[in-house]
Symmetry: C2
Subunit: 439 residues, 2 copies
Amino acid sequence: MPTAQILTIGDELLSGDTVNTNLAFLGERLRQRGFEVVRALSVRDRIPEIVAAIGEVSVDLCLVSGGLGPTSDDLTAEAVALAAGVPLVRDGASEAAIAAMFAAMGRPMPDINRKQADLPAGCDVLQNPIGTAPGFAVGLPRGSYVACMPGVPREMKRMMTEQIEPRLRRRFALPDIPRRIYRLIGRGESAVAVEIEPILAAARARSPGLAAVYLHYRAATPQVLLILEGLAGEGGARATEEELRSFDAPFQAALGSSLYGIGEAELEVRVLDACRLAALTLATAESCTGGQVAARLTAIAGSSQVFQGGVVAYANGVKTAVLGVAEDTLQTHGAVSEPVARAMAEGARRALGADVAVAITGIAGPGGGTPEKPVGTVDFAVADAEGCMHKRVQLWGDRALIQHVAGIVALKLVWDRLVARGLARVGELDAGGFSGDHR
Amino acid sequence: MPTAQILTIGDELLSGDTVNTNLAFLGERLRQRGFEVVRALSVRDRIPEIVAAIGEVSVDLCLVSGGLGPTSDDLTAEAVALAAGVPLVRDGASEAAIAAMFAAMGRPMPDINRKQADLPAGCDVLQNPIGTAPGFAVGLPRGSYVACMPGVPREMKRMMTEQIEPRLRRRFALPDIPRRIYRLIGRGESAVAVEIEPILAAARARSPGLAAVYLHYRAATPQVLLILEGLAGEGGARATEEELRSFDAPFQAALGSSLYGIGEAELEVRVLDACRLAALTLATAESCTGGQVAARLTAIAGSSQVFQGGVVAYANGVKTAVLGVAEDTLQTHGAVSEPVARAMAEGARRALGADVAVAITGIAGPGGGTPEKPVGTVDFAVADAEGCMHKRVQLWGDRALIQHVAGIVALKLVWDRLVARGLARVGELDAGGFSGDHR
């Protein structure tokens, strides 16, 4: 397995001004392509520090992002040239491409941007169709391959997938790594592990490929993703797609309804897709989540085929005036109660003209808790033509976490309802089942 | 200025399973305390790799996060002990604290958790009141100070601020660094720089402290934060709070209404606080932002004092049925139009019983654009007792970015309206002007 490291360059990464999301993106892409990522380093915009970082590279591949801009603190090309022992040379094609980009924007090209075409002599130029900074790849004298990309995430991502990965595939003869994702809500990572590890252990005995399967747990409360990867074991044996698929049935049996999906599609996409296929429209009535559920749904392009809209009924007056919750119900049971959650869901179906509506009312904190209804108490209801179900859940954490978890639990309850009605199933679904949305 | 590096430990940071947010948090805290953060390294859960990373430390301070858990891949204490040349020793007080934590949760303590009390001999133990992993600090033989924290962000943050920073203040005799934040929406980073740099350049000549002021640009579309920090210059001179404050007037004059705030308080907090002081309630009517504006407001504890609720009017049927937008207006002008935006804002005021309402209707894409109304066309309206203002903005980017920017622009327009009515001003406001909210 070839080894790799990631070098991210920029003062802003060390000063706290920027969260280093490039690192996670590149780490995942490298792993999926079959590299073993052994370390990641971030350094400042200083020539000696970048040269030292490149000098330390002792892996097969070093991916670099950042420091390719036009200003005086963009020093990556110069530092890599020094480390590789070659001069910087202006690349005519890159200079022309930069000029063409400014021309297309109808703006004069500042002189400083020409510097972005100064690249290490003999490098392999990596085109950047959406920015002025070309990337480049060089071999170091000791044999490491170094590929440099801009730090702007969307430019970096495109250059990685379109320019660098094809080169890596050729240079390192990378195999395809089969991969299978299981998506869960409602069990913690360790509770999942207790169920899953014995199944995996038993499977490992069945073939050398299965023996080498790698299992990731990716937990982001309240979700847990199990990711199986067919890494190569001794003698190069690797689990097949079909062997990974053989975990579906035992995992489903062990994990029950907490397993809501297999494959790339996220919960929102699955809910919307199942509704679309069943020709059902959807609406939301939110109190403590304050619009987060609607925002999650509308983040998906194509959601307008299913999602009618929502009411954020934060004040009790809105619950009565817009959703038709009886004042009496609010007075008797309180805003966080089963009757109010049910009335909100039914009211949203009616007011928004939807087939299915989900309601959320709870105490996100920090104030407002009581001994009977502590902070984190959340009542949910899902109403449809066949009735209305309710669930109370006790969540923990700070306000932001309670709101976040409640929003995802609400969508999971819609999913569970669709499954119970035979309108959805856990099996594979590709991501991006939606398109053509315009709002 | 003492130097520092950050070492984050864990396979999940290199595999793409976790975005390394600890790094940005620690980088910012260190900078604010007066450290020069020179590099950040992430390594896997392997003893030799952690020992090598500690062995490379050549700075005054190394902060470490991760690898303090109970499982076999939690190896930080062992590796640091090796690097420091001391044995691991079970700390009785930590063992008792871990046992007490399990007792409080009413769960038996698994045997493996005892391992978390095995710490380098002679270390300074750092208590963890919200998790089972104690932290620890040790001096390396060469004089570097190493402080180790859990990788769980909320445990790490609390240990950093409550346990480590007081120790750093004593050990490194750190000065207070004056700091002033200017918050902008509506101008890009380079357009801001053109206005600001000459003001700063002129000021630098006025005193040695001002000469050493450090200016950060922190850009997160559509916001730009300017952060001035009174770093020490030659001879230790440092700008005073008052000297930093002297930038307020020239910055306001140069930046105009794009400067909406000075200080720690975010836009949402400022809008809510100004409404509260003016005894105005607020509501939202969202189409293309799908609930994001309501979610931003309700993320703030205490927002229920001001925010009544919102309508996510995604389908046109909801615009007519709930917000009372005339079918005719929708037919004649289209859902993305000035008349519809105005009718949505006025309808939200009425339906939700609020004093001020903001409406957003636009084309987030990827589909739905036309030559007249391309993707990114967004109409906003703000209605209050004195009338209704409209603004059309052309945004760019993908669906997620258009939704995000539109949500923030909507709040900025509410802010501008409050300023125009004399109900809000740009001056300083502390963060957290809200408390006691319970939903």
